[in-house]
């Protein structure tokens, strides 16, 4: 049972990492969701195997399950949920503003790299420096 869970967590991490490395924010968001699911599964695993519910008088095996990891997973899920919603909003705004939700390179970085390649003094200030080229 817990080996299967572990394998599922590993697959979630692999797929999630691949998606996070993409350029489109929508894919990154799905990747982040998968990675945090993997992390949640790991926390579930850390609580030990299945046992009686931690309620007085319930169950019969005498072994009581650890309720703490479940409380932590619940908190983590809620936080991830909120931030995913925020990221989706951000992706939508990016799409409305620039027509794409691709994560761009740092503009000022590219400007400095250009200067370095040309190895000349500062070029004319770029009027569109603070605009994302579409």
């Amino acid at each position: 049972m817990s080996l299967v869970t572990l394998a599922v967590a590993a697959i979630l991490f692999t797929v999630g990492t691949y998606l996070i490395l993409q350029r489109l924010l929508t894919r990154v968001i799905i990747g982040l969701g998968l990675v945090s699911h993997g992390a949640n599964l790991l926390i579930m695993l850390s609580g030990g195997g299945p046992a009686d519910p931690p309620v007085l008088g319930a169950g019969s095996t005498g072994q009581i399950a650890d309720p703490l990891p479940q409380a932590m997973v619940l908190t983590a899920i809620v936080i991830t949920f909120g931030i995913t919603a925020f990221l989706l909003g951000l992706a939508l705004r990016s799409f409305l503003l620039t027509g794409t939700d691709a994560v761009e390179d740092d503009i000022e970085d590219r400007r400095i790299a250009r200067i370095e390649r040309a190895s000349e003094p500062l070029p004319e200030p770029d009027p569109e420096m603070h605009e994302v080229p579409t």
Binding site: L42, L45, A76, I79, L87, R93, E108
Partner: protein, 488 residues
């Protein structure tokens, strides 16, 4: 005084709710925000006095005894950082109110700012690993929303990478929590310190390195800093200033806390010293290549983090005391420098060095505020940076760590060089025509920070003594463990 400890987190959160309730009434929102942040500052001072009198303040939330319940702890170290941070939160709040239209343009600025305050306070006083995760998330969620206040394409682009990097770090944090819990069965920091002693050294090192990577992303140490100079400069000045002054330092605080408390028994670490040296060198070299005031300063955030990690790497009382002194100095100076950078930007609508100039003649007061902060950042006597760096270098020489001392001195020299670059570009040269005069309130708030920085230098003696006492507490994990587990 233990009742004060939960209130440090609860009052700003309640205040955030209240700012929503009063609606779009700017005066009331401002009043609530000022009272909320002011309360945290007052509480920080009181907790510091209490902690320094020999009895650190510990409380178990909900009355559950230590390993089961959530512990809040304000020892000297936490109280010092809390006091300095909340003082800067206050100054930046005044600046934001004075910046024309900033907080009236964005109705929920005060709400987000109070949530940020609560997150910072919780991250500093918590004594529980999972609660620390929650504190970080509260702080980060507020910071995501603050970054998108002025939502042009540039801000959206910058926020994207910032949010994604921090989310990856949060997922890794959850993984660390899962590993820690399955190895030791506890997440209480004091309890962990006891139980990790018995854990296999290999496993312990793996946990230590994982935690260092997670908090290293938040603190922007080498090689995990690349998101910082990309995302900070695009935000509005008050936001950048408070991020620069606080967020990375909270990361450093947690690195120092976990590395000394949980993984200190393996002795000083060459890895930490290597990270420290690389962070200093690469940060400052990056700064020299930049052409924008805020971007230069952003790279300096990274560079200065290296000095704090250097103090931690020594893992001695004097080294940690120097690191604490450095954090105190750095929170103030960095906030101040970004506020000055904001004044420059406000007047010219740009901070690019090749497009502003001659500010010395037109607004000498801005130059007068920039100079002590810049010299302090570079470590020129008699300013606060000198005291902190002197303490670090002295300890480095005493421990025979020549290489890191040489790197730190070289980085200081390069810092001075890039500060002269700002000085030459912004304050000297032909005056350019300003579009707008920055308001008196903004200048006053910046002046407050400058005075605070001068005070740190003036009272360097007492502050260094206090830092030494705080360092003596954290060097020996038994002190913290006794506080939390013994007192319950």
């Amino acid at each position: 005084m233990t009742w004060l400890l939960p209130l440090v987190v609860a009052v700003p959160i309640l205040g955030a709710g209240l700012t929503v309730l009063v609606g779009k009434r700017l005066l009331l929102q401002r009043l609530v925000a000022l009272l909320g942040v002011g309360f945290v500052f007052l509480a920080g001072v009181l907790l510091l006095i209490e902690a320094d009198s020999g009895s650190a303040v510990v409380t178990q939330v909900g009355g559950w005894a230590a390993p089961a319940g959530i512990t809040l702890v304000a020892d000297r170290f936490a109280a010092i950082v809390l006091t300095v941070s909340s003082a800067m939160l206050m100054a930046v709040l005044v600046y934001a109110m004075a910046q024309l239209g900033r907080d009236s343009m964005d109705w929920w600025f005060h709400t987000k700012y109070l949530v940020l305050t609560a997150g910072v306070a919780l991250s500093l006083v918590t004594g529980d690993l999972f609660n620390l995760f929650v504190g970080f998330e509260v702080m980060l969620v507020a910071s995501y929303v603050l970054l998108t206040v002025k939502t042009g394409p540039a801000e959206v682009r910058a926020t994207m990478s910032y949010v994604v990097i921090n989310l990856v770090a949060s997922a890794l944090f959850l993984v660390v929590i899962a590993y820690t819990y399955s190895i030791t069965g506890t997440l209480n920091l004091a309890d962990l310190a006891v139980k990790l002693e018995a854990v296999d050294p290999g496993l312990r090192t793996a946990l230590g390195l994982l935690m260092l990577s997670v908090f290293g992303i938040k603190a922007a140490i080498f090689p995990l800093f690349m998101w910082l100079p990309d995302s900070y400069p695009t935000a509005p000045t008050p936001v950048t200033a408070i991020f620069a002054g606080l967020l990375t330092k909270v990361g450093v605080f947690v690195i120092i806390r976990t590395q000394t408390l949980l993984f200190g028994q393996d002795g000083p670490s060459d890895l930490l010293l290597f990270i420290a040296g690389a962070t200093m060198a690469i940060g400052v070299l990056g700064a020299i290549a930049q052409n924008d005031v805020k971007r230069i300063l952003s790279f300096h955030i990274v560079s200065q983090i290296g000095y704090m990690i250097m103090g931690l790497g020594f893992l001695s009382v004097a080294g940690l005391a120097a690191a604490i002194l450095f954090i105190t100095h750095q929170v103030v100076v960095k906030t101040g420098l970004f506020l000055v950078g904001g004044l420059v930007e406000e007047e010219h609508r740009t901070g690019a060095l090749d497009r502003v100039g001659g500010l010395l003649h037109r607004r000498p007061v801005i130059a007068a505020m920039f100079l002590p902060l810049a010299l302090s950042l570079a470590g020129i006597p008699p300013f606060s940076g000198f005291v902190a760096k002197l303490a670090l270098v002295q300890e480095g020489i005493a421990l025979d760590r020549g290489i890191i001392v040489a790197v730190s001195l070289a980085a200081s020299l390069l810092t001075l060089f890039s500060m002269t670059k700002i000085w030459g570009g912004v304050f000297w040269g032909e005056p350019t025509k300003a579009e707008l005069k920055s308001s008196r309130g903004m200048t006053m708030a910046t002046g407050m920070v400058v005075v605070a920085s001068l005070l740190v230098a003036f009272f360097a003696g007492p502050i260094a003594d206090l830092a030494t006492r705080a360092a003596a507490d954290i060097v020996d994990p038994a002190v913290y463990v006794d506080l939390v587990l013994g007192g319950s």
